[in-house]
């Protein structure tokens, strides 16, 4: 649901970045961790609506769903989303669509534990980040 607010944040962030710079943005790549279960279609639809009448009106949003591997900082065990599927499923059925890791993916360690030793001290659950901004020079070849 809050995909619209994310798209809004992307527009504002990239507009800020471009302030005082030459060129037009042609593409923005947004990295999104799989565990957030964000809806890519809504993200793009929202972006295409919100970019109107901004300097990003000609740009395209690409969403890159990332599958990070997790590392337990206590025992060193490396694991993937698959290995903690039941933990994630329980959480989603408890909280519903707007579950904590959907709203704030970096909360991962509070809700997930290492499948090997049970520690909460796990890293690798990535954040939502603008990974790349492609800029087209406005200078025409003469």
């Amino acid at each position: 649901m809050h995909e619209w607010s994310i798209a809004d944040a992307v527009v504002r962030t990239v507009e800020d970045m471009m302030e005082g710079r030459e060129g037009r943005v042609s593409k923005i790549v947004l990295g999104v961790p799989r565990i957030s279960f964000l809806d890519v279609e809504i993200l793009i639809e929202a972006f295409d609506e919100l970019k109107k009448n901004t300097s990003l009106s000609d740009s395209r949003l690409e969403v890159n769903i990332r599958e990070p591997s997790f590392t337990c900082q206590r025992c060193g065990f490396v694991f993937h989303l698959n290995d903690i599927k039941s933990q994630v499923d329980d959480l989603r059925s408890e909280f519903g669509e707007e579950y904590p890791l959907h709203l704030i993916p970096m909360l991962g360690p509070s809700f997930l534990t290492c499948p090997h030793c049970g520690s909460h001290d796990i890293s690798g659950n990535d954040d939502i980040v603008v990974e790349r901004v492609e800029i087209e020079s406005t200078v025409k070849p003469s």
């Binding site: 649901m1 707007e98 904590p100 704030i104 909360l107 809700f111």
Partner: protein, 227 residues
């Protein structure tokens, strides 16, 4: 804010936000992501924020008073979190929250960690430093005052739990503020200890005791400063 815990940051930011909301649209933001005292004080423990297109919708406590807290994202769950994630969790809460108010009161955790760095990143602010008069708390808070001075900030110092009535006498259960601090030239506000406060945990918006009167005075000082 305060480097020291348990001095009354959460209680005071709550009462201050209530006082400020008489005249301004006020948002109270809970940046103490481990403790989350604010939803407990206002009776929103275990309640989830609604989420809309605009993002996370703060709780509406009163006509002009709203509350945004991680408690509204995690329900009553324990938030145990490595330090490396704390900064981004706070930033995400602020970034995903639907914020439109004129005045924002931030309740910070103790310590000198990400919360201050995050605040510096997102906004200019007027620091209200809270302590009790005990020698130990004051020493700890001096670090923070030094840091704020270096940053060119001019904080208000709130000395909470300064005194209370014991029969007809006034006693100072945490001792008296030492002179070193008084000499710093800060604006200082002393607040009393109020034993009735404990009864308002869960409904602090209904509190009408003398700490609230003090908060109305404090909000005029703040209005002056913010001008």
């Amino acid at each position: 804010m305060s480097a020291k815990g348990g001095v009354g940051k959460s209680v005071i930011s709550s009462l201050l936000a209530i006082a400020l909301s008489r005249d301004h649209d006020t948002l109270l933001v809970d940046l103490d992501i481990h403790t989350m005292a604010l939803p407990k004080l206002f009776g929103y423990d275990g309640v989830l924020h609604e989420v809309s297109k605009e993002g996370i919708i703060p709780f509406r406590i009163a006509q002009k008073l709203k509350l945004l807290t991680l408690g509204g994202v995690v329900k009553g769950r324990t938030v145990i979190l490595p330090g490396r994630n704390q900064e981004r969790v706070m930033e995400s809460l602020l970034g995903t929250g639907a914020i439109k108010e004129d005045v924002i009161v931030f309740d910070l955790p103790p310590g000198l960690g990400d919360e201050i760095l995050v605040l510096e990143k997102v906004t200019d602010f007027l620091p209200l430093v809270v302590t009790n008069p005990s020698t130990l708390s004051v020493r700890v808070v001096e670090y923070l005052l030094k840091y704020l001075e270096e940053k060119g900030k001019n904080p208000l110092l709130i000395v909470n739990m300064s005194f209370m009535k014991c029969g007809s006498e006034v006693i100072r259960p945490f001792g008296s503020l030492n002179e070193q601090v008084s000499r710093r030239g800060l604006q200082i506000v002393e607040l009393p200890m109020d034993e009735t406060l404990n009864r308002f945990v869960g409904k602090i918006q209904e509190y009408r005791g003398n700490l609230l009167d003090e908060m109305y005075k404090l909000s005029s000082i703040i209005n002056e400063r913010m001008r």
